[in-house]
Amino acid sequence: MSLDKATVRRIATLARIEVPEADLEPLAGELSGILGWIEQLQEVDTSAVAPMTGGTDVKLPWRADVANDGGMAEAVTANAPDAQGAFFTVPKVVE
């Protein structure tokens, strides 16, 4: 699998990382190298195998769907780069 510049640009947009035009070509090369190496997995027969979706054999616990936490807006926003009062701020999204 070889990625072109346009694909790298598209992935970068999906990942919300601005990639300078000059970096696209070298990145395409690096990512293609990694994907080419990963390609060997296709030779493994997995037709009768269930995917392993986590790291544990422990059954995940259930709990009642109730709020058991909250009321700490000050602590939650304390590390925000531009908190105002109990609110996070973002650039204006509605005109």
Partner: protein, 485 residues
């Protein structure tokens, strides 16, 4: 014997016997940190916290009410959230982040009486095998090759932890292991590193890299110290849904079990053509030591071993791309202004992430994107199941596996940068166990002809850290490895 060369077990006994005080033990380590600042092991030093906790420890010791780690100075990998103390994951994007909460593991270590010396350097977001991708610069391995002054990497990602413990800056340190990030640096720095079973230690409050693989563990100078430290770190935590409710065994007690009657599996796939001759020779020596101690080596096969690394490099980046989506310039850390919300996100993340993290987020985004999910991510999850099954089958024939920890000794800072895949190969022997979720240790077992440490890896089945500790202790006893301190 200086205060900074004591083991945790020795210091514990001397503190309890009032032969030394926690304050003097802590001061000795703070002085050593200043003396060896050039190693760049710490991102943040916390001498005020250390001194305050040391005083509390002495008070507790005076009262005779001292839990296991009372007064023991430890370093904390800067991936663990520590309340009110800068937590960076060695990334620019977490600039200024001071968590308002304490990770479960560090809270347990605190409750056990330990003294936090500071936060230790790592590869950015734990992505790397050399501690060179840190925003705060590389950490230097205290070991040097014979007749050479060249700076070597301490391995990674827990390289700050490895350097601090090997160099006598801390008696022990926390690490985290996603694909080898405790075991490989332990091998490179000539110390012991233990990755317990996935689910043994809570991940709550540990900056997430790949959630189905991440697991905290101890890094120390002896096997006994790792047993003592792990005992304090693990146990059920309702805040981590993958945290096990199983009772935690007495790890220190397991050390004296020995290996008599145990079957030790030697996986043939870990001896590829061209394996470093000194690494292969040490492995053979390790087999002989265990045999001398009464164990029986048996040949086993883990047929899907060669697919572990490519599987890992789908699963880990996929999970990372999702976990790292939270760094958006809104809730914590760095923000770079933009005209629109998307532009602010994109500029913040471009400025905040280093090249290796960016590379992995992009790979992860790609393998999860529409049209590729089945071909990459689902395929990798299925191969992961086969890798786990390989181990299950091997453990029907043996009690533990013995392998080298890493394919090479520590390399020079700046090496292996051109090809990301070449760097990934460092973890070829550690990644399979991570994917399977089984416990593993690295024990320093010998030196290369150039005088650099090499480690042997012990793997056991899920939840059987006791056998892992028993085998590790036997190796340590036989190897009589000469530590730096």
């Amino acid at each position: 014997m200086t205060l900074t060369s004591l083991t945790i077990a020795e210091a514990r006994d001397q503190l309890r016997a009032k032969k030394i005080s926690a304050v003097e033990l802590t001061e000795a380590h703070l002085a050593e940190m200043t003396k060896q600042k050039a190693l760049n092991a710490f991102v943040t030093e916390t001498p005020d916290i250390a001194r305050a906790r040391a005083k509390e420890a002495d008070a507790a010791l005076a009262k005779g009410d001292a839990p296991a780690l009372t007064g023991i100075p430890l370093g904390i990998k800067d991936l663990f959230c520590t309340e009110g103390v800068l937590t960076t994951a060695s990334s620019h994007i977490l600039d200024g982040f001071k968590p308002r909460y304490e990770s479960t593991v560090t809270a347990k270590l605190k409750a056990a009486g330990s003294v936090m010396l500071g936060k230790l350097n790592l590869d950015e977001f734990a992505m790397g095998s050399s501690t060179t991708t840190s925003y705060y610069g590389p950490t230097i391995n205290p070991w040097k090759a014979k007749g050479s002054g060249a700076d070597l990497v301490p391995g990674g990602s827990s390289g700050g932890s490895a350097a601090a413990v090997a160099g006598g800056l801390a008696m022990g340190a926390t690490g985290t292991d996603t694909g080898g990030s405790i075991r490989q640096p332990a091998a490179f720095a000539g110390i012991v590193g233990v990755k317990p079973t996935y689910g043994r230690c809570s991940r709550w409050g540990v900056v997430a890299f790949a959630s189905s693989l991440d697991q905290p563990g101890p890094m120390t100078r002896t096997v006994r110290d790792s047993a003592i430290m792990l005992q304090a770190m693990c146990g059920h935590d309702p805040k981590d849904s993958t945290s096990s409710k199983l009772a935690v065994p007495d790890f220190e007690k397991a050390l004296s079990r020995g290996v008599k009657g145990l079957k030790i599996g030697i996986p043939k796939e870990y001896r590829p053509d061209g394996l470093n001759a000194e690494v292969a020779a040490l492995w053979d020596q390790g087999i002989a030591w265990l045999k001398d101690a009464g164990a029986t080596p048996v040949d086993v096969s883990l047929p899907h071993t060669k697919y572990a690394l490519p599987t890992y490099y789908i699963v880990a980046p996929a999970e990372a791309s999702s976990n790292l989506a939270r760094y958006d310039g809104v809730r914590f850390g760095l923000r770079v202004a933009g005209q629109s919300l998307d532009e602010m996100y994109s500029k913040t993340r471009a400025a905040g992430f280093g090249p290796e993290v960016r590379r992995r987020i992009l790979i992860g985004t790609y393998v999860l994107s529409a049209g590729y999910y089945d071909a990459y991510y689902l395929k990798a999850q299925k191969v992961r199941a086969l890798i786990a099954r390989d181990f299950e089958q091997a453990f029907t024939q043996c009690d533990a596996l013995l392998t080298p920890t890493a394919p090479t000794p520590a390399f020079a800072i700046g090496a292996k940068f051109d090809d990301p895949v070449a760097m990934y190969l460092n973890d070829v022997f550690t990644v399979p166990a991570s994917l399977a979720g089984i416990p593993g240790s690295s024990v320093p077992a010998g030196l290369t002809s150039t005088g650099l440490p090499l480690g042997l890896q012990v793997l056991t089945k899920r939840w059987d850290e006791e056998t892992m500790f028993a085998v590790s202790q036997t190796l340590e006893d036989a190897a009589a490895f000469k530590r730096l301190v």
